[in-house]
Amino acid sequence: MSNTQRSQKIAFFFLFLATLLILVPVGLIVVVIVQKGLPAINWQFLSDIPRQGMRAGGIFPAIIGTFYLVFGAILFALPIGLLAAIYLSEYAGNNPLNRIIKLAIVNLAGVPSVVYGLFGLALFVVFLRFGASILSGSLTLGIMILPIIITTAREALESVPQSFREVSLSLGASKWQTIRHIVLPNAIPGILTGTILGLGRAAGETAPILFTVAAFYLPRLPKSIFDQVMALPYHLYVISTQVPNVEEKIRYGTALVLLSLVLFMNLVAIIIRYNFRKRKKW
């Protein structure tokens, strides 16, 4: 065996090892949650309201609540984030101010979620008087995921080859037509990746919804966007730490539902992305 082949084998081994090191804990978490949570899953658990101080019954209001919140957050953050990304990548020049803005947005993605929670409390709940409501919670989650969406969408737009833009412009298309017909369609897979990341984060965070929407115990469905709702991550926190004597399978069952919900939403986005990628032709 030659030297290059040997070093290739060694490199391959370590890369594989690193991958394994990541996969094993993730796999274990999933296995444990499925193993302990699956016994709790049945139709009643998914469709009933919580009963007996959340020690029995189902988690339907929390599922619906999380669904509404994530949907609302995406509804708010995707259009705004996309427009901002288009501005930053296509219109804003490469001057120091814009570079600082881009850097600031990237760093905003790392701000702890509880800070967003406090911000949402101050702005939406108190100042704009939306109260603790789906609206406040969605907007807070939306603001939290905006940096992720802007940054990934901007990178997706910037990765569309400059030559495509030049060709389009050289044919007399306007800048906006070029963006609309050439740049955007080719950036959609990347934009969806950002949406997937944002979605998962919005579904799983507890702190941003703690002050802005989440109800401790509210065994009915919301009637408007100004109602409070229960949400899965907060519900999980409540039954794990605040309510004594909750059966273990109910806790793990709730975690399993949350995990499945996020995976399901991701799957939908991944399928859409796959279909766009298939059409991508360079």
């Binding site: 060709v167 044919l171 007399g172 298309a173 080719n186």
Partner: protein
């Protein structure tokens, strides 16, 4: 009739001065070949004519450049680029089907009537000598074509918007001799309806297709004359040296 007039044209990209005091006239319905070694400013000059240089950061121009007697900076830029089409050095199909590539410019200029678009696509593909090769698979991705076919597709795409001038930037640099002769054949046919400016690093190609030939060196226009004169009896010895292959 004169299409383009440049008077004392100078351009810079940041600190780099890419064109120096260029005076040139481009006549309607001629093929003007531009030859010169690498870095001589050929592409930079060509990209002045449809203002594609405006996209480059740090670009500045001085002097005067007129298109049909009008200051090029005062013409609506989309309108200018519709009238002055460009074929790039590398085949650059858009990530669309063959049909949509050719129809792209047409649609961007507001033509929505399907029969009109189809007719234009067919006509343009025929002008570019590509129709027979692709007529049965118009909705296939343009990337499925060979390099030479892609380049003729790009020519068809440029023709479809019905320009007055076509700029070719080394259109055959990546092509084999047969594809090259097809592209040259298309250019010669197009001459009667279009003004053509052809940048080429292939001196023989300039001799084959150009009515007049310009020789650029380090951003300067050294000599511009009829192709015959340039290739038999050039006035400047640097031109002579270049076409003999002594430098470049």
């Amino acid at each position: 009739m004169v299409k383009f007039v440049a008077k004392d044209l100078n351009i810079w990209f940041g600190q780099v001065r890419a064109l120096k005091n260029v005076d040139i006239e481009i006549k309607a319905n001629e093929i003007l070949s531009i030859i010169g070694p690498s870095n001589s400013g050929k592409t930079s000059f060509l990209r002045m004519l449809n203002r594609l240089n405006d996209l480059s950061p740090g670009f500045r121009m001085g002097g005067w450049l007129g298109f049909d007697g009008e200051d090029i900076r005062k013409i609506d830029i989309c309108g200018l680029r519709k009238r002055v089409g460009m074929v790039f050095a590398l085949p650059l199909p858009l990530p669309l089907s063959i049909f949509e590539n050719v129809a792209y410019g047409v649609k961007m200029h507001g033509e929505r009537r399907r029969p009109k678009v189809c007719a234009l696509v067919e006509h343009s593909l025929k002008q570019a000598y590509l129709w027979d090769e692709v007529k049965d698979r118009l909705d296939v991705s343009a990337f499925k074509l060979s390099g030479g076919q892609q380049q003729r597709l790009c020519i068809a795409r440029t023709l479809a918007v019905e320009p007055e001038v076509i700029l070719f930037d080394e259109p055959c640099s990546g092509l084999d001799p047969i594809s090259t002769s097809k592209v040259e054949e298309a250019m010669l046919k197009l001459k009667k309806d279009y003004t053509i400016v052809l940048v080429t690093n292939n001196v023989k190609q300039a001799a084959r297709v150009g009515d007049r030939t310009a020789f650029f060196l380090s951003g300067e226009l050294v000599e511009l004359d009829s192709t015959e004169k340039i290739f038999t009896n050039p006035a400047d010895r640097r031109t002579d040296g270049y076409i003999r292959g002594e430098f470049g």
